[in-house]
């Protein structure tokens, strides 16, 4: 109801008052960001991990679960580029196939938590009566430590990819819900949404056309963080023995197995560990770049 002060930036004819960067402006900004060496390095590393995972069968690997008792704990050889583990399995192949598992878990958890979180968040943000119930449930989920919840779930149902995915997704959902709900609450009082209401727009058009698009940018950013944290949680669970079955080549499993032979073959822990760390670091760096580009308000001041 305030008389809106004729602010600079909100006034007629002010050329600086452009609300959204256009799509090609985003591309330009992303290109600009890639010129910084750390970002470029992160981009290369993440690209390499994805390529290794996708083309794993073509990259001189052998069966990652094939046991060869004759060659246990071998060092670096022409046949086994990164040596073998305690069962004689090829470490190089296991690292590459482990990347597949990690990326699938990361991607799966990201998509699942964003889709579910978006739906629940929109409902909570738009329907005021549902809001109080939904948000209390979300508070409840958030109050449980996520690793604990995951371990409980896995020990109830046994370790499999689906269980691990569920175990990682559930604790992530409340964060997405909060984010989406916040955006929807903000945007529902925007004049253009109210104008659409008075134009008689049906609910689905109000939501899909005028409200939900505002959540895309923050969700993309949040998605990168979920992606990284899902990979880390999967590795943690597997390392603790509460994740995927031990024969499945995942970085967490490999480190758990290799732990006992660390003095004999430190590479069994180091190789998956280094790849895991590099992957997480590069995803987080790229996530920061996306955030700076999509959400200039949060960008650090240079």
């Amino acid at each position: 109801m305030n008389i809106d002060p004729a602010r600079p930036g909100l006034q007629a004819g002010d050329p600086t008052a452009l609300p959204l960067p256009a799509a090609n402006a985003l591309v330009v900004q992303l290109r600009q960001a890639l010129k910084s060496p750390p970002v470029f390095a992160a981009f290369l590393i993440f690209g390499a991990v994805v390529a290794l995972a996708i083309f794993a069968p073509l990259l001189g690997t052998s069966d990652p679960v094939a046991i060869d008792p004759a060659r246990r704990l071998a060092g670096l050889t022409a046949e086994h580029w990164l040596g073998t583990d305690a069962y004689g399995r090829d470490t190089y192949s296991r690292v590459l196939y482990g990347a597949r598992v990690s990326l699938i878990v990361g991607l799966g958890a990201m998509v699942a938590s964003i889709v579910l979180g978006l739906v629940i968040g929109v409902i909570a943000g738009y329907f005021r009566t549902a809001d109080s119930i939904i948000m209390r449930v979300m508070d409840g989920i958030m109050a449980i430590p996520s690793i604990l919840l995951a371990i409980a779930l896995v020990s109830l149902t046994g370790g499999s990819l689906v269980t691990v995915l569920v175990a990682i997704t559930v604790p992530e959902i409340p964060r997405v819900v909060r984010l989406v709900r916040g955006v929807i609450l903000n945007v529902r009082s925007e004049p253009y949404v109210e104008a659409a209401v008075s134009l008689g727009s049906p609910l689905h058009r109000l939501l899909l056309r005028h409200m939900v698009p505002n959540t895309v940018a923050p969700l993309i950013v949040q998605g990168t963080f979920i992606f990284a944290s899902a990979i880390l949680t999967e590795a943690t669970l597997s390392f603790l023995g509460a994740g995927l079955p031990t024969e499945i080549p995942s970085w967490g499993n490999m480190m758990a197995d290799g732990r006992m032979y660390f003095q004999l073959q430190p590479g069994l822990v180091l190789y998956p560990g280094i790849v895991l760390a590099l992957t997480l670091l590069s995803v987080n760096v790229l996530g920061d770049v996306l955030r700076d580009v999509l959400d200039p308000k949060m960008a650090r001041k240079s």
């Binding site: 109801m1 305030n2 008389i3 809106d4 002060p5 004729a6 602010r7 600079p8 909100l10 006034q11 007629a12 004819g13 002010d14 050329p15 008052a17 452009l18 609300p19 959204l20 256009a22 925007e190 004049p191 253009y192 109210e194 104008a195 659409a196 209401v197 008075s198 134009l199 008689g200 727009s201 049906p202 058009r205 056309r209 005028h210 698009p213 240079s302």
Partner: protein, 554 residues
């Protein structure tokens, strides 16, 4: 002129400000003027004219990574501000020059008491002891006519009203008795009655301390009220400098002429009484906001109390009031963006106040709304054409037919049909407001609600949009509910006016009646507070005494 013999406090010479990344692009070019002690110089211009950038350059407050002074000198008592070190600037800023801003809430620290914030200035720049500082702060609070200085001293900014906050900001600015006060639209965010008080206060303190005042404003009413001399700016350049009277009465440049004559007159145009059929009939409308809290006492706010109004075909009814008067609440209830607590709203006899959901939907298209802020009224991700036809599509018009209608509407609001393919950010505020009007008209409503629809626009654009509204009214016979805080705008377009205060209607009648013979004391106060009331901007002359008498309502 004898004035020139006095050494100016501020002397700006050939100032240019460029964009830091691209110094060839300038936002201010070759600006120069003087401000002498005890003098008020108003810098007037529309948005983007560079008036604020000039003021910020004087204060040394240009954002260093985006704007930079590229040429010229700014002499404050003979010292070049542009050459001063950051250290020196900081000293100058409190002791020799000070600035007050448009929005007093953001200029104050919300988590510190007012007293401490004023005290801080003294603490840094003067060697007084604690008791002496407190005495001076209280003295200053009394000097800006704040009631109960002791209580204000210990208050937080959010506990004060907008006008009181601006007084506190003035306290901070003037406590060290600077030679120069820069005021950047200091009353734009305030209600007219408060504005009047703040203007009087600035004038009073200026007289007392012989301060030079540089006053940035877009409002010629304010200029007429306080300026000694006027600097008119446009697109980063000075158009004209002259004594206030000379600029208002005999502007030399065409731009100034257009600007001055765009200021709407407070004297309502004579209008025929409207005897057409009643379109909108509101009876006993109440809106109560109840804040329920688990651990708090519930608080009840009556935003609208027993509002009655009727609107005839082709009539423009103005609802006038200050912020918090409930005028927007009434509008939003009528558009049914809010549910009224009680009362009836009838459009052509159909009750829409109580209906909801499915039954409301067909009635919605009978009344449409245009909002204040043109930058937030259009979905930035949707093409203009899609926004305009959205309503038609909602009510089942085939797409091609809807687009055809959109093209006709563009013609009606004075835009080219090709703009339908563009996105909102490609348009100026005035153009966007035209698009919003087109969108509202697409459904051929009986009633258009304009909620402060021209308040965010520059005067020249404002005049165009008002003319457009009037033209549409004549061509389509639409009834308009025009919500505004600006009496000049109301006088310009409204057939009848309803004045609201604290959620209640205090006066209602034809525009001529309300503005020339107001019965209620509040209406009179509002009219009295309108700045520049004694100047006839359109005809470049003082108001004839009779007209002032008339608008004063004795």
């Amino acid at each position: 002129m004898s004035e020139t013999s006095v050494q100016p406090v501020l002397h700006i010479e050939d100032l240019s400000v460029g964009i830091a990344d691209d110094p060839a692009r300038t936002v201010v070019r070759g600006v120069g003027f003087d401000v002498r002690p005890g003098e008020t110089v108003c810098v007037v211009g529309e948005s983007g004219s560079g008036k604020s950038v000039t003021a910020f350059s004087v204060m040394g407050l240009l954002p260093p990574d985006s704007l930079r002074a590229t040429r010229g000198r700014i002499l404050l008592d003979g010292e070049d501000v542009l050459q001063a070190s950051p250290e020196r600037l900081r000293q100058l800023r409190a002791t020799r020059m000070a600035m007050i801003f448009q929005e007093p809430m953001t200029a104050l620290n919300p988590v510190e008491t007012v007293g401490r914030q004023i005290d801080e200035v003294l603490c840094i720049h003067r060697d007084y002891d604690r008791r002496e500082r407190r005495r001076r702060v209280l003295e200053m609070l009394a000097a800006v006519h704040l009631p109960e200085p002791e209580r204000i001293f210990d208050s937080y900014p959010h506990q004060l009203s907008g006008g009181q906050r601006q007084r506190v900001v003035i306290c901070i600015a003037l406590i060290l008795e600077p030679r120069l006060l820069i005021a950047d639209e200091p009353t734009t965010a305030l209600d007219v009655t408060t504005q009047k008080q703040i203007l009087t206060l600035i004038r009073e303190l200026q007289r007392k301390h012989n301060t030079a005042v540089l006053f940035i404003t877009h409002d010629f009413g304010v200029v007429a009220e306080i300026a000694d001399r006027v600097v008119v700016m446009n697109r980063g350049q000075v158009v004209e400098v002259g004594a206030c009277r000379q600029i208002l009465a005999a502007p030399a440049r065409d731009y100034t002429r257009t600007l001055v004559s765009s200021v709407p007159s407070l004297v309502p145009a004579p209008r025929q009484p409207n005897q057409d059929e009643i379109v909108l009939d509101v009876r006993n409308l109440n809106k109560v906001y109840a804040e329920r809290g688990l651990f708090r006492r519930s608080r009840v706010v009556k935003a609208a109390v027993d509002i009655d109004l009727t609107l005839r075909k082709g009539e423009i009814l103005g609802i006038v009031g200050e912020s918090g008067s409930g005028k927007s609440t009434v509008a939003r209830c009528i558009v049914r963006l809010q549910d009224p607590t009680s009362g009836s709203i009838r459009i052509h006899g159909n009750e829409i106040g109580r209906t909801g959901g499915r039954e409301l939907r067909p009635l919605r298209q009978r009344v449409q709304i245009v909002f204040q802020d043109p930058y937030r009224s259009l979905n930035p991700r949707v093409k203009v054409g899609e926004s305009i036809i959205e309503g038609l599509i909602n009510y089942g018009t085939p797409r091609t037919q809807a687009l055809e209608r959109a093209r006709k509407l563009m013609d009606l609001v004075g835009l080219d049909a090709t703009v339908l393919q563009r996105y909102p950010h490609q348009f100026s505020g005035g153009q966007r407001q035209r698009i919003c009007i087109a969108r509202a008209l697409a459904l051929e409503p009986d009633i258009l609600v304009a909620d402060e629809a021209v308040s965010a626009l520059d005067v020249s654009v404002q005049a165009q949009v008002l003319a457009l509204l009037d033209e549409i009214r004549v061509r389509t016979g639409i009834a308009v509910l025009f919500i505004t805080h600006d009496l000049r705008v109301a006088a310009q377009v409204c057939d009848s006016i309803m004045v609201m205060q604290h959620g209640r209607m205090v006066e209602r009648g034809s525009a001529a009646q309300v503005l020339t013979t107001p019965k209620d004391s509040y209406t009179r106060a509002l009219i009295h507070a309108a700045p520049g009331r004694d100047w006839d901007f359109r005809h470049f002359r003082p108001m004839p005494a009779a007209a002032i008498q008339a608008t004063a309502g004795t």
